[in-house]
Amino acid sequence: MRKKTFAAAALLAAASLTLTACGSGDDTGSPVSVVSEDSANTKAAIVLDKPFEKPDLVLTDTNGKKYDLREQTKGRPTLIYFGYTNCPDVCPTTMSNIAVAKSKLPKAQQDELRVVFVTTDPDRDTPKALGKWLKGIDSQVVGLTGDFATIQAGARTLGITIEAPHKDKNGKIVSTHGTQVVAFSPKTDGGYVLYTEDATVDDYIKDLPKLVKGETP
């Protein structure tokens, strides 16, 4: 396996060299402009012409307390994602991407930002189970659970479709997660930017400083 790792590294190096070669054709471009071109090409944010209203969700947080989403995130930059903790792939990656990007913000902005994880599998994701899972990501994340129909209706107002967990033929529970993260502006409380699951940690690192100010990334 070691050899393969080196081979992969060599390929990557070759790719980098190719990129460098492409860039060096134009000697007038400063490194700074090259970087901004690059990031424009890989833009992950989908900016909405017509922002979503924040869903009217009143659920239970990881302390077992009532959490009114509209009331408690009013005037705060807010990111909302629908997922479940028995999800090995997309859900932890999405939440970790956001958590790492958040950790790069100044402390005051980190405290200002609300990252809300709403479970799509409330039977298994009790407040305690959610709390344990989120502690492994970022203890400031708000984890919400409650009645599935309420959660599903809330997700639907953001164009996110989730199905009720059901058992497959082997008796294993199949749950669905949302495919996008919605960012809400602290200025308008409108959901104005979407991120699909293709968004990387670098995309969030680049965009969060703007999102916390309600600016368009």
Binding site: T18, D89, P92, G136, V201
Partner: protein
């Protein structure tokens, strides 16, 4: 039986030369594994793993099970944002079986410990026809995404 994919490839090539068989369509499956990684899991209950199985041979094979010292491993496909367990996955002739985030992935459960970035997890792939292949899967950061090149 622990044998690396590379050795397997050499052995198969040797056999083919002796048999004097030139047609690529008659080749047996010739498997190798690349790009394996596990994002550092956020809890001790569950983890995901990704890799690519490449088949240079002219015969398809099937991945039938995956085992690991770390815990129970199952194969899942993601369909409409829901995971579905699958028992067999095709490794097409002259093709690839690709596990990647958001698509087909390995799911590790009942973990013996919570793997940390920098560790490696030993995983054995079992196929319908080919010999098992052992993969040392590196644990990457929770936010790792493989560079795909252009």
């Amino acid at each position: 039986m622990r044998r690396t994919a590379a050795l397997l490839g050499v052995a198969l090539t040797g056999t083919l030369l002796l048999a004097g068989c030139g047609s690529s369509d008659d080749e047996a499956a010739d498997l190798s594994v690349s790009g394996a990684y596990m994002p550092q899991p956020v809890s001790d209950s569950m983890a995901a793993g990704f890799l690519t199985v490449t088949n240079k041979g002219g015969t398809k094979d099937e991945l039938t099970s995956v085992t690991s010292d770390l815990g129970e491993v199952t194969m899942h496909e993601t369909v409409d944002a829901a995971m579905q367990e699958t028992k067999r996955l095709d490794v097409p002739a002259h093709g690839q079986l690709v596990f990647k985030s958001g698509g087909t992935h390995l799911m590790f459960e009942k973990l013996k410990h919570q793997p940390k970035q920098g560790e490696t997890v030993s995983v054995e792939l079992h196929f319908a026809d080919s010999d098992p292949v052992t993969v040392e899967m590196p644990v990457k950061s929770a936010t790792y995404t493989p560079k795909t090149g252009h």
